[in-house]
Each structure stands twice: as structure tokens, then as C-alpha cells.
Symmetry: C2
């Protein structure tokens, strides 16, 4: 699944249309309430993003404050509210959607990236009197971001207050409309915490803590603060239900040389989980007591925090006398490099996922032949049913994207009741979906022709496939960053003056978030080396507005290849198993090497999946001829 | 020419052996003198790099202080002197050379990049008592670097003094040995300042100043400080002889909204040059008075400086009450994008350069056939002679690298009297050379077989050529950074677990430095977009230790290609003109597209050069068959 589309998919797809209408009617209420609160606190400008105190990519509904204030529910966007004006900043993916959703809201749209569009800090500065106060909810911004903003505002004679708690500011207004109490946004969100079996995790919680303690010592610190929900789940081998599509639980944690604490709302922890924490010498403390814990750190302590991941309110709670070691979270990098058990688990999960997909696509073909009505959303539902039949299925890893014809070209498309198109024996269908199994998380995209493909569809598809194969077959030296490989995937498209606006690959978690950092393959370099054991997606695409979208995605694993006098070289192993649509391939455009890769891949797909398929399904897969 | 080799080539090649011996005998004298000076100033540690106050890549001999102190004359290296110990930090290219040159010097070698090797700041910190003073010559470090070091040292309880002027500290010791006075290191270095004709420059000095003034206003500043010698030469359309191989003159400059100053030692300025500055309303002030000028800026002024380019001593001279706008120098980016006249000039220069190369290589072949003795250095001399015969030749753009057989594998090789190998009809010869013509600077590398090539030599050569062609034929969207394209050149080598340790391409100046920033094609992203008009080198290579080196370099120009609904796309135009050695090509390894590029290139070389060649030379070039 595309990194750039993640936030727009985090809501419940089927309610989007309704929610949109509802927002439209209610947002003035929220805006009015917010302005009242601002006035009473003497705040001249308020910045609202769409995060939670763990700076999660996916957030629980109660944290969707920016959506509530503005009515705009795209993935990327920040709202600034002034006493008389308000503005929303978003990027080109959302210009159209934002224009629609902001209509009559009185909120101005600022199109990021266009010439002469100021960033929101500059806009605040030029619209506020010197000495004014800018208010933010410090829990929702990283320490790094707040430090950056403070510098800008201070230079311009404005003050930044970081304790303007938004959920409280909005409780009354919200209660007026739907009765949900937001003053304790974290209550009841850790339902279903369970122990993640070591047979899937590969390494015990106590072993992980031991390794992290070594990293803390290497960083010359004495204690580590963990705030990322996936990092906490990984470290302690626990999972939960706090966030849709993400098997995490809401908690903070600290690991010191001789102790460890988990800050979690313990009302619903099972005796088994409580005893597990006890066995691992992890103290259970109330979720919000982390602030108190940090404020009582003694001056001789050195605390390791990742300023990109720790929210400012937590950072601010640390006494100034305590030394802060600002460094990348060691849990993040440890989590990114999968162990042997995790890798074996994923290899198993992709087999189950391949079987589920073949079942769904085989049935789709039969249904269309038989004239049974299938729509984008009914096919998405079918995919979910087929995955749910597989062993150790936990849930979808994100809501499936099924974009038929021109819908496939909307990179962040989710079918709504209004848009839900019927699939017909004509045009292209783009399907991006994935599952969370106990043994691994999957993410795969295929584009298929439902009827006879046009010449342009075939050349486009083949160019995307060439890019996909370029990544799949890449060999690269130790030390290579993902960004260095990105152009290999784009070159066949660039050669024809085509391109796609999203990244080529994102990191994938292990029975965790389908998107995880820091590894990726993107245009912009983030300085992270690809290391054996890292799991990523390989998903070049092409989108022709009002026509169709093509994306071809497999999961890939970084592996050792060979060591020579020129150093160590790595390669990728493709994990996902599902055939490519040969009707869409222009064979003449492929090199011998590319044809060999494709043939080998199809042999592997057949050999690994056939034993688990019905005769009809087997025949359906087996019809992929060798090119 | 390789960016990574530039410093080692800046000395006079033929004296290296002698210089080395001389350094060996004298460096204790310098070290002792330095320690005396440190003691009298109570300085516990001194850091010595190899820069000049303009932070030039090439420096005049009197600024080679690190060489003088340590005896090590590699391009990259920093010496730290403590009262009892001293260390040199350098990278893997120089481990062997540094080991040799530091022998018996008492200076420890720190191999950058190896595990557990501390950086020099950490080494100073762990070897100095709290409260100690670290001394540097603030003129030789960028403002950015000093700010970084200050932060480190302050956190560790050390003080950094930036006024420890090294040349003065070394004057006496130096005078003892060779009589050169270093106390006025800039005297007499601006000999030969001349006006660079607008017919070559394309834009007048007054027009350039006008554009720069716009940029200063856009940056909300009122005055710009220019310190880069090539930026000053470009802005004012002047050239000079201050640095070998670089037609620049030693000066500082300021440009304000209504005035401009050049700070230059005016003793030898011709009446013509003085009158030129007058006509352009550029005030001439003494070179060193720039410090006084900066110190007298009034508090309401906003000065634009590039902290990566302006040395700390200058920055420090600016009163704290003046607002500093820290930004990339506008002259640097303007200079990087060549105008039409400059581009036409280079197109002409590469024709002359091609003719000179063909003359030299044709003669080499005849000489070897006739049994005439040719050595690496005599062939380098021959190249210089052939270039000097061309119209508007000013000098070589760097000392030619002629690496025969195993010498070709030494990436920073320069023939010395001891190493100078005789060329025989066997093995590979790598030749990297270039000229400064009034209409443009050139840089080209070819590798040729002097006898029958081995299978490995051919496959290696063909893989390097494939990488070269990948860059030459690349099409890429607007906004692409050079680093994104780097892997295209490396892929054919990576596929065979081969690689090269230098960048794929560097920026090239126009009748200026053969290396210029900010544009490049390297592994590490520097955030600079490739823009139409930028001139770069395209020079992948392969080096087999003790066997041979291969490098294939042409100059390339960024050009518009096409605009589609997917945006603007750019491509490169290859400028350099000289055939590739077909004896070294494995035709089976090339794709149809690659063969077409090669054939088209050879047709272009012949058509453009033939009218200027003798019958024999024409025949020699014309024997390149179509593949």
C-alpha cells in the first residue's frame, strides 16, 4: 500500500460520505468553540495537525481533531485558526478534495508547493501582532518540530505556548453533537492486550530488553523513553486493538539499566498479561503517570529520547537538570531488521495471502463471466472474506483499495456508497490490499485487465513492470540507501516522460503497521542504509487521470548476495506470491533478463501455492504461460 | 577529472618526490615551532586543515600548512597537534601513502571510516583537561564548521579560540628553511588580473550585479559578502593567475543595493582593470580591509552570507548587532547554470580539445609502433603541447593523469620521476586531462588498450561504458537531484559485484575551476536539483588493484527534453568529442539502444572533428567501425 495514501485510508471507508456531510454541518460549531477557548486563554493563533500523543501514522477516531475542525479528511493537512480567519495547508494530492470539503466553511485553502504560498508559520507571523501567543497541543507535535517552530516564532516576536490542550477545548462542542467524551481520550483504548507468542516473535521480551539496554549504554544514557506504539508492541512482545488495522495497544514505556515500566491503562489487562509483565520485571503504571515519572527523574540521569518520535509535552515534563541524549530510537532500528523467525513467518504469511487472493480473483472472473454483479466494495469485501479463511488471520492490514477504471488513477481512492463502481468486462482494475496474520503482515497490489487491453494500457503496464523487475533484481553494495535505488524503478517510465508521484517502497512491520520506518525506497534520501533483514514494498505505478491506474507491488526482503574485493553486496528476495496479468504485457518491450525473472517468478508462485489450491484455481494460475 | 583526486593533483607533479623527502627532514622543525607558539598562547590543541581563507579546493603553495606540518601531501587530511602527541586523520584513499609519509614523524595515523576510530574533536576532548583551549586559524574553517565544533567543545568543557593565526606561527620556522615569508601570504598573488571579455562571458558584469541584487532583495538582505574566488571571478567578469590551473584572482567582494566593492591587493592592477572597475561602479579597496569593512557595518544592516563558504574570521568580524541572513550564495547557483554564450563557448572548446587529443593519441600510436620511448609523463607533456597549439588556450585545467597498467588503478596517481613508467604495446592506459580555453574549460578521460586486451579487461571496460551510456541517455523529471541518477551509472558494475569509490560526476566551471559546485552526480545527496544549463562530468570507472584502472569521462550538459502532463523532463547532451576504444568493447554485452548511442556518438565525433584533422588523423578516427 502506498505510504502517501495511508492517512486517507485510516478511517472507516464505508462511512466516509456520511462523515463528510456531518462534518460539513458541524465544523462551525467546533471552530466557534475553539475560538472561545482561544480568547479565554489569550491565544491569537492555534495550529492543529492530525496526530496523537504517540505521533502515530494511524490514529484512533478521537484524535481526528483537524478533520473535526475543518471538515477536511485527507491524509495530510494542517489547520491554523486565527480570531477572524482560518486556513488549511495541504499538498497537490488533495487540492480538489480540500476545495470541495472546505466550501462555505470560511477556511482558506493554502496549496503547499505552489509558488508564493506561505508556510503556515510565516502566515501566522504576518497576520499576528508582535507579542501575540501561538497555542498548540504539545502532545501532538514532535519535540523536533516544536523546537523548530519556537525558533521561528521567537525570532518574529511571537510566543509559542505548548499546553493548549485541544481535546479539552473541544469536549463540550463534541458532546453537544455526538455525546462522545474527549476529555479522557485514552480511556478504554487498550482493550484486548495480549501476549505475542515467542514462536512468532522469534526473540523473547527479556532478550529484546537486554539488547536495548546495551544500546542505551552505548549511547551513554541510563534510561530510554519509548512512545511509538509499534516500538512498544515489538519490544515487549505484546499486541492489542487500540488502532484500527494496527495490532498495537496505547502505552508509553521506559527502559532503564535495571528496571522497565509500561504506562498503560490497566483496567482491562487480563491476569495473564499482568503476570507476563511481572515475570519480565516490567512495572505496570497508569498511562498518564508517565508525565509524573518523567518530572521526577533525578538530575544525574541521562535520558535517551528520539526527538522525531517523542511529543513535546513529554519532553517538556523532563526537568531541565536531567541530561537529554537526543538520538534515533534503538527500538526502531532493531524492529526494522527482521529476525529469522519473523522472516520465516512472513514467508508463510505470503503463501496464505497468495491463496486468498487467487481465490478472490478466480471467483471474480467466474462471477463476471456469469453476469453476477460485483462492485469495487463488494470485491474488497470478498478479499477480506478470503483472507479471513486463512490460518492465524487477525484482520486486514489496511482497508483494501479497489480502483476500477478511472478510479484507479485516484491514488488515494476508497470506494464510498456514492462512488462504488460496478466491475464490467472492460478496463483495468487496481487492487491494493493486505492482511495481518499472526506470523506476518502482507501488502500486495495487482492491476488486471477485465476485458481486452488497449495498446497504451499494455505499454504502460509493461513499463511499470520493468521498473518493478529492476528493483526486484537489483544488486547493490553495503551502505546503499533506499533513495539511491529509486530511479531504477522509474527509469522505464522517465524514458517515456512518465512518472508517479509516490514512493517506490516503504518499510513493512511484522504483525504490526503495514508502514514502518526508517527503511524505504523513495526519491528523497532519509540517510538510512538498507540492511539484510529489512522488509519493504516494491510498488512502482502509473496513473492516467480519468482513464486508469496501474500499480504493481510485492514485498521484498534485503538479503546478503556476495562479498568480493569490492565489498559486501546485497540483493532483494521477492516474497509476495501472485501472478502478473500476462494479457497486459508487451513481450517485445522486455529484455531476456526481465523475461527470465518473470518466468521464474511464475514458476515459484505455482509451485508454492498449487498444493493449497482447488483444481479450478490451480488451472487458473497454471494458465500463465512461459514467455 | 575525479573530484576525489583534486587536491593531490594541485601541486607540481614533477617535484612531488623531492618535496616528500624535504618534508620528511623538516617537519619536526615546523612541529616544534608550532608547539612553542601554542605554549606561549596557552593553547592545548591545534587543528590544522589544508584550506585558504577562500576555502578553495585548490590552494596556493603558501597555504599548504598541513603538508608542511605533517609531511603528508594527500588531498584530504587534518592534523591535530597536542603538547606531546599529534595525529593525522585521513580516508581510505590515503591510508598507504599516509603510513609512508608519517613514518618516523611521531604523528599518529587515524584511519577515518574504520571502526573505533574517533573523530578528531572527540580525540582532543578525551586527551585534554577540562578548561583547556583549542586553537584554530579561523580564516581556514567555514563558519558552519566552526559553529559545529564550538558546540562540541563547549559541551565538553573546552574553549575554542579562532584567532590562532597559523601562517604567522610558522613564518620563522619556514624562513629558516626556504626563506619564503608567510606573514603576508596574499601578497603578489593577484598578478595578471584581466578583464574577461563579454563575448566569452555572455553577460556583462553590470547585468550580473543587477541579478544578484534582485536575489539579495529576495533574501530580505541589503548586502552580500562574496569570498569564493570563482564566484568573484564570475560575477565581475575578471580572471587571473592566483592559483595554478584555476584562472582566478585572490579577492573578496561585497555587493549592496547601491554599491559594490572588490577587496584586492591593487599593486599590480593595470590601468585598464582599474578603469573597468570604475566604469562598473565597483570600489577597489585593499584586500585585508574587508575585515575593517565588515566590522563597521551599521546595526540596521542585513548581510547575506553562505556559512559553508565564508570563513569564520570574516563572520566573526561582523558586529553582533548586524542581522546575518545565512543562505546559499546566489552567485554560486547563477554561475552553475551556464548562459547561451558560455554553452556555445564550451561546444567550441570541446572541438579544439578533441583535435588536440586525437593529435596526441595518434602520435602515441605511431611512436610506439616506431619504438620511440614514451613515458607516462612525456605523454602528459605531449597532451599539453597539443592543447597549447589550439586557439585561445590559457593552460591545463589540472595536471594530466596518465596511469599506465597498475598505475591506472591508483585513483589519485601522478607520475613522479621515480614512478614514471614507459608505455609498451601491452596493457591499458588511463588518460584524464583537460584544458582551460578562453571559451571554456574541458575535462575528459579515456582508457585505451596498448596491446591485445584480455577478456576481463573487455568485460570491465564494457560495464563501465554501459554505466557511462546510462547517464548519457538518461531522461529525468524536473526536480531530480544528481544523486538520484548515480545508481544508473553503477548498476552494470553492481550487477557483477564491482564498484568505484568516487563520484559519477562533478560540476565544471566555464573558463574557471574544473570542479565546481553545487551540481554533481554522487552517491550522497546534497539537495541540489539539476537544471538546464548545468555542466557536469560523466565518469564512471573501475579500478583493479595492481592490474589496471578504467575510467570513461565526457562532459555533459543538462537540457530541456519534453513537457507532458507528467511535468517537464530533462536530458543530457554529451559535449566531449573523442572516440571510445572499440578493441575494449564486448559487443554482445551492449543492448541495441547502447550500440545506437555509441554509433551516433562516433559519427558526431568524426563529423565535428574531421574538417580540422590531417589525412592521417582523419583515417585514424575514421577507422572506428559502426558496431
Amino acid at each position: 500500500m502506498l505510504l502517501s495514501t495511508v492517512m486517507s485510508l485510516s478511517g472507516k471507508g464505508e462511512t466516509t460520505g456520511l462523515l463528510f456531510l456531518y462534518h460539513h454541518l458541524q465544523n462551525n460549531l467546533y471552530l466557534n468553540k475553539l475560538r472561545e477557548m482561544m480568547q479565554s486563554r489569550n491565544i491569537a493563533a492555534c495550529i492543529i495537525n492530525s496526530s496523537d500523543p504517540h505521533l502515530s501514522q494511524y490514529v484512533a477516531d478521537n484524535w481526528k481533531i483537524r478533520e473535526r475542525i475543518s471538515g477536511f479528511d485527507g491524509s495530510a493537512g494542517t489547520v491554523v485558526v486565527l480570531p477572524e480567519e482560518a486556513g488549511l495547508w495541504t499538498d497537490s494530492r488533495y487540492f480538489l478534495q480540500a476545495e470541495m470539503q472546505l466550501e462555505n466553511s470560511g477556511i482558506l485553502l493554502f496549496k503547499n508547493g505552489l509558488p508564493d504560498v506561505p508556510d503556515y508559520c510565516s502566515w501566522i507571523i504576518s497576520n499576528s501582532k508582535e507579542g501575540s501567543i501561538v497555542g498548540i497541543d504539545g502532545r501532538l507535535f514532535s519535540t523536533h518540530k516544536v523546537e523548530e517552530m519556537k525558533e521561528k516564532f521567537t525570532a518574529a516576536g511571537l510566543a509559542l505556548e505548548t499546553d493548549f490542550v485541544l481535546t479539552e477545548a473541544l469536549t463540550d462542542a463534541h458532546a453537544l453533537t455526538d455525546g462522545v467524551t474527549l476529555s479522557h481520550p485514552v480511556s478504554n483504548t487498550n482493550t484486548g492486550v495480549f501476549i505475542y507468542d515467542e514462536k512468532f516473535a522469534g526473540i523473547s521480551c527479556s532478550e529484546k530488553i537486554k539488547i536495548i539496554r546495551q544500546k542505551i549504554e552505548e549511547a551513554k544514557a541510563g534510561i530510554l523513553l519509548l512512545t511509538g506504539l509499534d516500538e512498544i508492541a515489538w519490544t515487549f512482545n505484546i499486541r492489542g486493538n487500540s488502532v484500527e488495522y494496527n495490532p498495537v495497544t496505547t502505552a508509553y514505556a521506559t527502559i532503564a539499566t535495571d528496571s522497565a515500566c509500561i504506562f498503560i491503562d490497566d483496567k482491562e489487562l487480563t491476569p495473564e498479561v499482568i503476570s507476563y509483565f511481572g515475570q519480565n520485571r516490567i512495572e505496570i503504571l497508569p498511562y498518564l503517570s508517565v508525565f509524573d515519572f518523567l518530572s521526577k527523574l533525578s538530575p544525574e540521569q541521562h535520558i535517551l529520547i528520539d526527538k522525531q518520535k517523542v511529543n513535546y509535552a513529554l519532553f517538556d515534563a523532563i526537568p531541565k537538570s536531567v541530561s537529554v541524549v537526543a538520538k534515533e530510537s534503538p527500538a526502531g532500528m532493531l524492529k526494522a531488521v527482521k529476525n529469522e523467525t519473523e522472516i520465516e513467518g512472513v514467508r508463510n504469511a505470503v503463501i496464505k495471502d497468495g491463496v486468498a487472493l487467487i481465490r478472490a480473483f478466480y471467483r471474480l472472473e467466474k462471477d463476471l463471466e456469469a453476469g453476477v454483479k460485483v462492485t469495487e466494495s463488494s470485491f474488497a469485501e470478498q478479499l477480506k472474506i478470503c483472507r479471513a479463511e486463512q490460518k492465524d488471520f487477525f484482520g486486514e492490514s489496511f482497508p483494501a483499495i479497489t480502483g476500477y477504471a478511472s478510479h484507479g488513477a485516484i491514488v488515494h481512492y476508497t470506494a464510498t456508497p456514492e462512488s462504488d463502481a460496478e466491475l464490467r468486462p472492460d478496463g483495468l482494475l487496481l487492487v491494493d490490499s493486505g492482511g495481518n496474520y499472526f506470523d506476518g503482515t502482507t501488502d500486495i497490489t495487482r492491476t488486471i485487465a477485465l476485458g481486452k487491453a488497449t495498446k497504451q494500457q499494455k505499454t504502460d503496464y509493461t513499463n511499470v513492470l520493468k521498473g518493478h523487475i529492476a528493483i526486484a533484481t537489483a544488486i547493490f553494495p553495503e551502505g546503499t540507501h533506499g533513495a539511491q535505488l529509486d530511479a531504477l524503478a522509474r527509469r522505464p517510465l522517465w524514458d517515456n516522460c512518465l512518472n508517479y508521484g509516490h514512493g517506490t517502497g516503504h518499510g513493512v512491520g511484522h504483525f504490526l503497521s503495514v508502514h514502518e520506518g526508517p527503511q524505504n525506497i523513495r526519491t528523497k534520501d532519509n540517510g538510512v542504509e538498507l540492511k539484510p533483514g529489512m522488509l519493504l514494498s516494491n510498488e512502482p505505478g502509473l496513473y492516467r487521470k480519468d482513464e486508469y491506474g496501474i500499480r504493481l507491488e510485492n514485498m521484498i526482503l534485503v538479503k546478503e548476495y556476495m562479498e568480493t574485493e569490492f565489498g559486501r553486496f546485497f540483493q532483494f528476495e521477492t516474497l509476495s506470491l501472485f501472478p502478473f496479468d500476462l494479457q497486459l504485457i508487451e513481450q517485445d518491450m522486455l529484455s531476456e533478463k526481465e523475461i527470465k525473472w518473470l518466468n521464474d517468478y511464475h514458476v515459484a508462485v505455482y509451485e508454492k501455492l498449487a498444493p493449497l489450491l482447488s483444481e479450478g484455481e490451480k488451472k487458473w494460475v497454471g494458465r500463465c504461460p512461459q514467455l
